[in-house]
């Protein structure tokens, strides 16, 4: 059957678009090279953590920490992709996302927060980072009000060192008192267990009880308790609230290195919603080209072995990611392109020019490269003319943002993926079909 929409990419942007379209009654096919960035990030929705006056951004250097993302969204430099969505569009996407997770298969597991106020959460090395919308299991980690924290680590879990984390956290100007304890406890007694392995351990009542017993006796008055973000993958709300009850105090998760358990929960929730809506994901299906007829893409090409398969659909959402995901590429001969459809890139340095500046927080000439779009998320060429009518671009493929520095990647992916879906619903007969189906029901 020919789908109504093909979404390319299965990160947060692609999944948001796909699920929103499926909710509206569209038949959605997701084609993806592999599983996306959900499994690598923190599982939070960072909307805008750092920003600055555009002149400062052009000069390089650190940006200012954002307290109120909603207000800061209006002050971004021209050409920033948030400008194509608007603060209202971001807010609508965040509301939709929170509702979708809260009514998903992990309910009552839910996200907290919003665009009014950034939380300040500890990282796995005890630095702090601003985030707008976070799993309920992380919210008590907000360090802005100080307090005492006991960080619990596990010796079998790599790259999460509770004493180091606690020492760094205690240095934050917010005045947190923190100390670390490490447990010699691991699911199955294994010496080397990933965060997902621990999460599966926490899914078991016996392991939870053992952890609670070992931690309970070591807590001091008024301490809240931090765990690596491994508190269950099957029923995180149940695991987290059970630990809070047993320990008699607030408990929160701190994101780990990959695999990201909160990210896997997010992926599983959205994938579940997509399947329920009749949508399908094909993995190992990198889109390697497209057939065009004028300003329309008529078919996408994937290849298995020697044979190409053509996938047709009236609408395409391109959400393949940026340089890190291979969604855009620049080779040594300065051939720059978006890799699935061959779209041109904007915000590139001149051929042979400087791509990176010496310092980490500099404004690197390559950092805003990507596909430029118009207000309806259609790709545009250098002169601003629309290149394709039935292709909408979302997520890290877009030009103009520096997500790693702004802490804006999740918000951008969610907001542009959601808007791409909304635009297709408005411009196609999907809205009418959904209304008709409701009337008939």
């Amino acid at each position: 059957m020919i789908p109504d929409v093909i979404v390319i990419g299965t990160g947060l942007a692609g999944l948001s678009a796909a699920v929103r379209l499926g909710d509206a009654g569209a038949r959605v096919l997701v084609l993806a090279k592999g599983v996306g960035g959900t499994h690598l990030g923190a599982g939070t929705i960072d909307v805008l953590g750092y920003a600055g006056p555009s002149s400062e951004a052009e000069d390089g250097g650190r940006l200012n920490r954002v307290q109120r993302p909603l207000a800061a969204l209006a002050d971004l430099p021209p050409g920033h992709p948030y400008g194509q969505v608007g603060a209202e569009g971001v807010a609508a996407a965040v509301d939709w996302f929170k509702e979708r997770i809260a009514s998903g298969p992990l309910a009552p597991y839910a996200y907290e927060g919003g665009l009014e106020d950034n939380l300040l959460l500890p990282t796995a090395v005890g630095a702090v980072r601003p985030s707008a919308v976070v799993p309920e299991t992380m919210a008590a980690g907000d360090v802005r009000n100080g307090g005492r924290v006991c960080v619990v680590g596990f010796r079998a879990l790599k790259d999460f060192h509770a004493p180091l984390l606690a020492d760094n956290l205690a240095r934050a100007p917010e005045g947190v008192e923190a100390r670390g304890v490490e447990l010699d406890l691991a699911p199955g007694g294994e010496p080397d267990v990933s965060s997902l392995g621990f999460a599966r351990g926490f899914d078991e009542a016996a392991f939870r009880a053992e952890v609670a017993a070992q931690v309970g006796g070591r807590l001091r008055v008024d301490e809240r308790v931090a765990f690596p973000a491994t508190l269950g993958v099957a029923d995180p709300h149940g695991t987290w609230s059970e630990l809070e009850r047993q320990l008699g105090r607030p408990v929160f998760e701190i994101p780990t290195l990959p695999p990201s358990v909160p990210g896997i929960r997010l992926f599983n929730s959205l994938r579940h919603a997509l399947r329920r809506g009749g949508g399908e994901i094909i993995l190992g299906a990198a889109v390697t080209g497209a057939d065009r007829d004028g300003d329309r893409v008529t078919a996408l090409r994937t290849r298995v072995g020697l044979r190409e398969t053509l996938h047709r659909a009236p609408w395409i959402v391109l959400a393949t990611g940026g340089f890190a995901s291979g969604g855009v590429a620049l080779d040594s001969r300065w051939n720059a392109r978006e890799t699935a459809l061959g779209l041109p890139l904007a915000r590139l340095p001149e051929p042979g020019g400087e791509r990176f500046r010496p310092n980490y927080f500099d404004e690197h000439p390559l950092s805003r490269a990507g596909v430029a779009v118009d207000g309806d998320l259609r790709p545009v060429g250098a002169n601003g003319d629309r290149l394709l009518d039935n292709v909408l671009v979302a997520g890290a493929t877009l030009a103009g943002a520096v997500p790693w520095k702004e802490k804006s990647g999740d918000g951008l992916s969610l907001a542009t993926g959601f808007k791409a879906a909304e635009l297709i619903i408005q411009e196609s007969d999907l809205g009418q079909r959904a209304a008709q189906a409701t009337a008939e029901a």
Partner: protein, 414 residues
């Protein structure tokens, strides 16, 4: 020949070279069905892109745990960087096996035509022997075939015997049927139903002679030299059809994938002209029928089939990158309720789950799927791969069939 050999070497290196794209993101390890149930297998990233860097011609593998990879291929499917993890592991395992030698069990198990030829003429006796518990316990002790493992029953006749007598009527299109060992020795009725259904859909069905085994079980068991001989012979049998522009359809989805992709990529047979043309023309049967349907050329009217069935898309079927065409086809059958299972793997992975040392792992891998199936209390379970069907049927007690059997029932008597 020398020039072709070079091409093979270069392409082989490209496949292995993909390990340099690994960014250690661990996504493969989150889906690996085996490492998620047993510490005996440390996971695809560890034994794959990581350990491969330590393998040299003199030192094959730093770690024999590689042998616990079931070869399901999920790691390659989910890798966001395009690393051919499963292919690298299968190649490394073969080198390990070559050094350590092949057991009698693995030699026999990997050659279905051998047991097929021996068992078919004496099927009633052979089936009784294989179902006999003391015999099976003895077989486990002597050769390492687990006494509970789901071994198939000999049909007592062959599909090829039926095919010799069968005259396919003229049709609006021609297809060639790649039946494989499963349909030939164990499930000839699947082959016969496939031919009948294709003919009802307006196809003239050629059944190329000389089809033995595609070599997939040999490949999975690390016996690459024999696997290459088998798949070259299979390709030679099917190539004339492909060269005359006739598409080849297969009901064994893993064997179809072998011809489409794996034999070239894993066995490195880039230089075989027969295999090349066959790989361009071979389709999973459901993939082919959905393509016909999408073009409005599937001429079948299905009658109502008031049944509830579960569907499991096997790992190798997912390796085709075609989604789940069986679901689209079964959706055409009125009153048929199909429930898509949400599980990774049934555990058996061809011959993996039959082995004494791996049976328990395979059952643990499949436990999630088995639980989902039995919870639905279906009339039938549906799955595209024969060894997975035998595993599911044995583990759940639910009669398990190929999607084609559902379509054949709904298409009514011929």
């Amino acid at each position: 020949m020398a020039a072709m050999r070079e091409e093979h070497d270069v392409l082989g290196d490209l496949m292995r070279g993909s390990l340099d794209h690994c960014v250690k993101c661990t996504i493969c390890e989150t889906v690996c069905p085996v490492s998620n149930v047993t510490p005996l297998f440390p996971g695809p990233k560890y034994v794959g892109p990581q350990a491969e860097r330590f393998r040299t011609p003199g030192e094959l593998s730093p770690d024999a745990s590689l042998d616990y990879c079931s070869g399901c291929g999920k790691c390659t499917q989910v890798c966001p960087q395009g690393v051919h993890i499963a292919e690298i592991n299968t190649q490394a395992r073969a080198r390990l096996k070559e050094r350590d030698g092949f057991s009698l069990r693995d030699r026999v198990m990997a050659r279905p035509p051998l047991s097929g030829r021996l068992g078919t003429p004496v099927a009633p006796l052979a089936n009784r022997v294989l179902a006999n518990r003391p015999v099976r316990r003895l077989a486990e002790r002597l050769v390492g075939l687990h006494h509970e493992a789901p071994v198939p029953r000999f049909a007592g006749r062959t599909f090829q015997g039926w095919a010799k007598r069968h005259r396919s009527p003229e049709g609006v299109r021609r297809v060639a049927y790649f039946h494989g060992c499963g349909a030939n020795w164990y499930e000839p009725d699947v082959g016969e139903m496939t031919v009948a259904l294709l003919e009802r859909a307006g196809c003239h069905v050629d059944i190329p002679r000389g089809q033995a085994c595609c070599g997939l079980p040999l490949q999975s068991n690390g016996q690459f030299d024999a696997a290459r001989r088998y798949v070259r012979a299979m390709a030679a049998a099917l190539a004339p059809a492909a060269r005359s522009g006739v598409d080849i359809v297969g009901t064994s989805t893993s064997c179809t994938l072998m011809l489409k992709r794996e034999a070239r990529e894993i066995l490195g047979l880039m230089d075989d002209p027969d295999l090349r043309v066959v790989s361009e023309h071979v389709y999973d049967i459901c993939e082919y029928l959905v393509a016909l349907h999408d073009r409005g050329e599937l001429r079948l009217d299905f009658r109502p089939l008031p049944l509830t069935v579960t569907y499991h898309a096997p790992c190798q079927q997912q390796g085709h990158g075609i989604g789940k065409p069986a679901l689209e086809l079964m959706a055409l059958v009125p009153e048929l309720r199909v429930i898509d299972m949400d599980a990774t793997c049934c555990g058996v992975a061809g011959t993996y789950g039959l082995k004494r040392e791996k049976y328990d792992i395979a059952m643990k891998v499949g436990a999630n799927l088995f639980g989902q199936i039995t919870a639905e209390r279906p009339d039938l379970a549906v799955c595209d791969s024969e060894t997975c069907r035998w595993q599911i049927e044995r583990a759940t007690g639910v009669s398990t069939v190929h999607p084609l059997e559902i379509l054949h029932r709904a298409a009514g008597p011929a």
